[in-house]
């Protein structure tokens, strides 16, 4: 339990008012059109969506998760957080391609890239899944706040969940994405400052870097300082093959769209940037900040380990970073720390409320129910969808218990079977809607079978997560590759239109040649002038 002084309450109230008012101030911009309500009119300079990328992916549950993996694995745990590196290549590959498509959402992109019934089914599927997924994320992030408030103040979990998500909904409902991104900028600055402050404070509390290393040596735990302390090629709790799998997933995944669950919020930020260049830099810079943040946290958690090396319970050591702040910061700064936690929380909640609503509005309501709806009506549908997502998130939040388990499942397993198809849809012209749709359906079945059902009935042993990934990728390919070849390619006119607009990379030769024959593109030999 933490006891707040006057100064603590002062910081907290001031920051909450500032964050909510900052968002609400953009009410007039947000209500102008659907493009404003969901994409801030596609006019943002790179640093605004970059701050939003950073703020969104710093959630209340993120330090809990990072604390868990670093306390357990030492600095090797950094690589669990390195999945965000998919943005390294994505910023200059799939981001560019997606920004050129101008699709509001990933679901809409499916109907620009594919055609016919398959494309429509994909759009409906991804839109519905994203509405569900955003509600799910809101629930798990929300309940993390509930757990934290119970830990700090002894509140029942539902109170922390409902109170802060509702506060956030005030500016998301009024100003839409304008409110989200403007509040994100302010929240990102507060959160990053406090993460630096608390992490350095924690390192100092453990006696500084030298003392941390000496204490780890005395405890016989110096391996924790080595990010490359593998337990073997395939054996132990941190095998090299896991590391290689993670690098492949993260880095190569950047060529695709939807290879990581974070792609979907990033897609919204990409479209809100004013140019392709701004979109690329926003994704790159936001993720660079995330990587720096993770390393800051990692060293702070090592410091915590030297202070409390004997904690066995996962739920207890997952609170490591929070404990550094609440146990070691002086009175007055504790409220500042909690205000930053609220900032971290609101930035994530706001994004997922608005993102889920964008799929419900653009891809479900407008696309299937009322294509000719006015902008005013669509903004209102966006608000109603936001409210429904908020209510749904309360329900999901109260159903979840083990945060780490859900997170690892979502990050790793849920994406395994669609990782390769999500790349193929970008880089291979022949991959069609039926292939992609079948990969989704196959993945849903395979992930549950391989992770839970078959091991439960002892048909197969419980496999390490990297093996689960490769197995699901291979089994999935055995389903969607034949389906792709057994069904006709996409309509060539649609492919040409998509190619001319988006200029994808990879195997697009037949489409490129067709576009050249139609005079829509220059041939390779045609002089284009310029040079360098």
């Amino acid at each position: 339990m933490v006891v707040f002084g006057f100064l603590d309450w002062f910081w907290l109230v001031i920051f909450i008012v500032l964050m909510v008012v900052c968002g609400v101030l953009f009410f007039k911009l947000g209500k102008r059109s659907m493009s404003d309500f969901f994409l801030a009119g596609r006019g943002l300079p790179w640093w605004l969506p970059a701050a939003s990328v950073y703020a969104t992916h710093s959630a209340t549950d993120t330090p809990i998760w990072v604390s868990g993996v670093i306390y357990k694995y030492g600095l090797r745990g950094l690589w669990y957080t390195f999945f965000s590196a998919w943005c390294a290549i994505s910023a200059f590959a799939s981001t560019r391609i997606f920004r050129r498509s101008l699709a509001y959402t990933q679901a809409e992109w499916q109907t620009l890239r594919f055609s016919g019934l398959g494309a429509e089914l994909l759009r409906g599927w991804i839109a519905g899944w994203q509405v569900f997924m955003n509600m799910f994320v809101l629930g798990w992030v929300g309940i993390a706040m509930g757990k934290l408030c119970r830990f700090l103040f002894g509140w029942p979990e539902w109170l922390g969940l409902i109170l802060f998500s509702s506060l956030c909904a005030v500016y998301v409902l009024t100003a839409g994405y304008w409110g989200v991104v403007m509040a994100d900028f302010q929240q990102g600055v507060i959160a990053f400052s406090v993460i630096v402050l608390v992490s350095l404070w924690g390192i100092a509390a453990a006696g500084g870097p030298q003392q941390i290393m000496i204490k780890l040596g005395r405890l016989g735990q110096s391996w924790r300082l080595n990010p490359f302390a593998f337990s073997g090629w395939t054996s132990g709790d941190f095998p090299l093959v896991w590391f290689v799998t993670m690098l492949v997933i993260a880095v190569i995944g950047g060529f695709g769209m939807g290879t990581a669950i974070d792609w979907y919020p990033e897609a919204q930020r990409i479209q809100s940037a004013r140019t392709i260049r701004d979109a690329s830099y926003s994704i790159w810079a936001g993720t660079a900040l995330i990587i720096v943040r993770n390393s800051l946290w990692a060293v702070a958690i090592l410091a915590f380990f030297t202070l409390y090396p004997q904690i066995q319970s996962t739920a207890d050591y997952e609170m490591a970073w929070y404990r550094l702040g609440f146990e070691f910061l002086p009175v007055g700064l504790v409220g500042f720390f909690f205000a930053a936690i609220v900032a971290i929380h609101l930035s994530t909640i706001s994004t997922h409320l608005n993102l889920g609503a964008s799929y419900a509005t653009r891809d479900l309501y407008q696309h299937y129910f009322n294509p000719r709806a006015s902008d005013k009506e669509l903004v209102w549908v966006g608000r109603v969808s936001t409210f429904i997502l908020l209510l749904g998130s309360f329900l999901y939040g109260l159903m979840m218990q083990e945060i780490t388990q859900w997170l690892i499942f979502a990050l790793w397993i849920m994406a395994a079977g669609i990782w390769l198809p999500s790349i193929l849809q970008v880089v291979w012209w022949r991959f069609n809607a039926w292939g992609y749709l079948s990969s989704w359906i196959a993945n849903l079945g395979l992930s549950w079978l391989i992770v839970w059902v078959l091991p439960e009935f002892r048909v197969i042993p419980v496999l390490p997560d990297y093996l689960q990934f490769w197995l699901m990728m291979i089994l999935g390919a055995l389903i969607y590759i034949p389906i792709t070849f057994l069904t006709p390619p996409e309509d060539m006119d649609r492919l040409v239109k998509y190619y001319v607009m988006s200029r994808p990379l990879g195997r697009w030769k037949p489409v490129r040649e067709q576009a050249q024959r139609q005079g829509l593109l220059q041939t390779e030999n045609q002089p284009s002038g310029g040079g360098g």
Partner: protein, 96 residues
């Protein structure tokens, strides 16, 4: 760095070239060095500072390589964007 192309025509910039492929290599490498470099620097280990320094140098090189091309792509595309957006709205309203 004379081998880095600074002037791009719209048509050339739209093609995937060696500048893009170099960026695909440099960008994850920078993230990797940044992750390890920051952690090691916080522990005041000398090689942490070296890794951090290398990541900053590579970042500058990467921007020098890709920025002229990104500028050319963006400038050309923004001219066409209005027309593309109108087209997209027609599709959204089932008019196309």
């Amino acid at each position: 760095m004379g081998w880095i192309r600074k002037n791009w025509t719209a048509a050339d910039a739209d093609r995937w070239t060696k500048e893009d492929y170099l960026t695909f290599i440099l960008s994850p490498l920078i993230y990797f060095l940044l992750a390890v470099g920051v952690a090691m620097s916080l522990l005041l280990l000398w090689y942490g500072w070296v890794l951090l320094g290398v990541s900053v140098i590579l970042l500058v090189i990467m921007i020098k390589i890709i920025d002229p091309k990104l500028k050319a792509i963006s400038e050309d595309y923004e001219v066409k964007q209005k027309e593309y957006l109108e087209d997209l709205e027609k599709i959204a309203r089932w008019e196309d």
